[in-house]
Amino acid sequence: MNDKTHQHTAAPAVILTVAVASFVLAALCATLWAVAAVIFGIREAAPPMLLLVFAMSATVAAAIGVVTKARHESTAPFGMHAILAAGVAAITIAYGALLGVVGAYGLWAAAGIPVTALLAMYLISRLSKGVYLYSGQQVSSIILCFAHMMGVFLFAIAASLPFYFMIVASVRPRALLLQNPTNLTIPVKEGFANLFNGYVEVITRFKFARYILNSTVVSLLTVVITLIPAILGAYAVTRLRFRGRKFLSNAILLIYMFPAIVLAIPLYSIFTQIGVRNSLFGLLIVYPAMTIPVALYMLRSYFQTLPRDIEEAGLIDGCTRGGVILRITLPLSMPALASVALYVFMIAWNEFLFAFMFLDNPEIFTLSRGVVSLNTQEVPRQFLMAGSVIITVPIIVLFFYFEKFLVGGLASGGVKG
């Protein structure tokens, strides 16, 4: 079997050998695991059922191993694809179990198969002295490849599961969820229109239409109110010479060392006495103060990369500074402006603390405050999840659409915390 490591063509005989070997290997691991499961009492096993599940997964693993091996014709050691395939099969079985398709045995199979497969390969390579199946490097490349794939899968699940759950929980009524909490399918059986019951309720009865309007208005206005001082300030810090300029450009972000809660209490009392507390106007004063430093910082970094020559040419031609900014600098920095605008919009839309503390009047609630008002005993959790989806979807959509800009913005100045 040692000439398998240097295959370059996928002759039918080779494919067959790989298929059989993969199947045998996978079935061996599965059986070992089944035995261990029974011995350690993980499940009062119904052995036929268990073995059936494992055999299924082994077959799937072998099939995928064969297909990938034939397609890639690579110099990868044999069995690596089988291992990878076993991993994929295991994970698929695990989710089948979650969806109620396979029994819970499947979950243990999912955990056990890849582990024992890896162990088996390692032991074999160690034990076959002089007739190496795998060199140390190949073993480590197998492990690396497997860990990488597992990592991709796990992180994708970890990042997206709560969001998928949010959507599912907003369309599954409480009764169904209590019945089988692990069933994460979307219940289309009761009719497609019924799915959106929660959303209709939330938008009409709980006035979310109004909240959406409020949030949009506040966020857009915050963007405008933030950008103007930020552009002026960034321009001043990069293009004009004055004492204290270095200190200012380095110290801008120190503002974020102060916790919002420390600002909140004095602002609460002062705004109450002035009378702007329970109003969107109060929010519009606070939000720009929170976003101007980071906007200034991001724009400053970008302005520093713009060449001065064009601006100086404009100045020589008789433009005022304001004219230079409007006609030369701003058009050149559209991507940065878009990035900053998006970032500020996101901060204002997601903001919770001040909206929660300042707003008492339901007419002027923003979405953040509105969703909190759904978190009571009388309101079914389904509606709360529907509200959560409503507040999340616009940001995710904006994010997908403008992904380049946001990622650039977050990476170069993502210091809102």
Partner: protein, 431 residues
């Protein structure tokens, strides 16, 4: 060069050009100030000023009720005396009772003035009681000083000249009041009581420890997860672009939505996590993650790590992609294994950025309020200093205590920062 120039050019034009240079510099400076004023002005007003106010409030003896200065309160109650069987001539046609009191139980009022415009035909019987005078149709009461909690009731008999005895319009008309009072915020009374109360309270040490544990756990967790995510995305694979976008969701989504979803996920009755644990036979019964002592803190730290790992992931990925590939190739040729290359090549390149990220996340997690408040409200051992500030201010109406806690929060953060910066002397923050 300047000396040669002054010999070559007539002195007047040198002076002119020097003056012009100075004016340009001044012009720029003035323009810079004008351009920076909106930004700095807003930030000063909304951020710096409240922080200073916080420091100010923390050393004053104050409660939430004190934020509104005391005011005189006056109510009027009209009783028809002619229907009263025991009435005599001295009681007039109606008796008006004025109920006057100080709105504050702790502060005095001075120079109190209360005015009531009488409707036509209504006249109080003279002699008027003390402090009351009649000016045309305006009945005025003047007092020099009302003690804290002062209240007094004055009954004045009235005669009614008109036939109609309709008092509804009069009843609806409010009394005009004015007075002088001390505003606790503006006098010069100081006290360290607030700090004493906070530091000596039984759970202050546990508050501090909880905050430190939460901060270190959350920051380390975020960096760990971010590091793994960056390592995974660094290699090319088939759905890489989609995964890159997906990994940023936890950071971009609104805190409200994510916090409530996690609350639901960890719910003992209908939550996914608990039913998965039961299905795997790991536990016998559901675990109330967010209401039990050790698990609440672990859940909160895990949530923090999950939500802010994309931040670490972005920076680490940028740094990873800047490591030259030749280093890895030569390591592979030298026969180094995965762990060895990771330890000797990858980690040293990343140590700078990881230190910076840890610093930033430490600051922000130390100050974090929203997450814990939404997940557990500070229950089951997850009460950190920011939560304590909120509880003092709005739960117990103890503004002074809240301000003191906030000051202590800032002080501790500064101490940790200084220690950190001294121990790990890194270059300036390279964000």
């Amino acid at each position: 060069m300047c000396a040669r120039a002054s010999r070559a050019l007539p002195s007047s034009s040198v002076k002119v050009s020097v003056k012009r240079a100075r004016t340009i510099r001044q012009q720029e400076k003035r323009l810079a100030i004008a351009m920076l004023t909106p930004a700095i002005g807003i930030v000063m007003a909304i951020v710096i000023l409240p922080v200073l106010t916080n420091f100010w409030i923390s050393v004053k003896p104050i409660a939430l009720g004190d934020l509104r200065p005391p005011a005189p309160l006056a109510r009027r109650h009209i009783r028809d005396a002619t229907a009263d069987a025991t009435a005599d001539a001295t009681q007039g046609d109606a008796i008006v009772r004025y109920i006057l009191r100080n709105s504050s139980a702790t502060k005095e009022l001075r120079d109190i003035l209360i005015e009531d415009t009488l409707p036509p035909g209504y006249r109080p019987l003279i002699p008027l009681p003390d402090n009351f005078t009649l000016d045309g149709t305006v009945l005025t009461a003047r007092y020099d000083r009302w003690a804290p909690g002062h209240t007094n009731t004055v009954e004045i008999p009235f005669t009614i000249a008109t036939a109609a005895r309709d008092t509804t319009q009069w009843e609806e008309q409010p009394l005009r009041v004015s007075a002088d009072a001390d505003n606790i915020l503006s006098n010069f009374q100081f006290t360290l009581n607030n700090f004493r109360t906070v530091i000596q309270s039984a759970d202050f040490i546990s508050l501090l420890l909880t905050t430190i544990v939460y901060t270190c756990g959350g920051a380390s967790g975020a960096i760990l997860l971010g590091l793994c995510a960056a390592l995974i995305v660094n290699k090319d694979f088939f759905a890489r672009g989609m995964l890159r976008a997906l990994l940023l969701f936890p950071y971009v989504a609104p805190i409200i939505a994510v916090a409530f979803t996690w609350q639901f996920l960890l719910d003992p009755l209908s939550g996914l996590i608990n039913s998965l644990l039961l299905a795997f036979n790991i536990t016998d019964g559901p675990i109330p993650f967010l209401s039990q002592r050790p698990t609440a803190m672990m859940s909160v730290i895990l949530f923090d790590a999950w939500r802010y790992s994309p931040f670490a992931y972005l920076f680490i990925l940028a740094r990873l992609q800047a490591i030259p590939k030749e280093l890895y190739e030569s390591a592979m040729m030298d026969g180094a294994g995965i762990m060895r290359t990771f330890r000797s090549i990858t980690l040293p390149h990343l140590s700078g950025i990881i230190g910076t990220i840890f610093l930033l996340r430490f600051i922000w997690t130390f100050n974090r309020f929203d997450d814990i408040f939404l997940l557990t409200g500070g229950a089951a051992g997850t009460k950190t200093l920011p939560i304590a500030v909120y509880d003092s201010a709005f739960g117990r109406n103890d503004i002074g205590g809240a301000a003191a806690t906030a000051v202590l929060l800032f002080v501790f953060l500064s101490i940790f920062l200084i220690i950190y910066l001294k121990v790990y002397k890194r270059e300036k923050i390279e964000v």
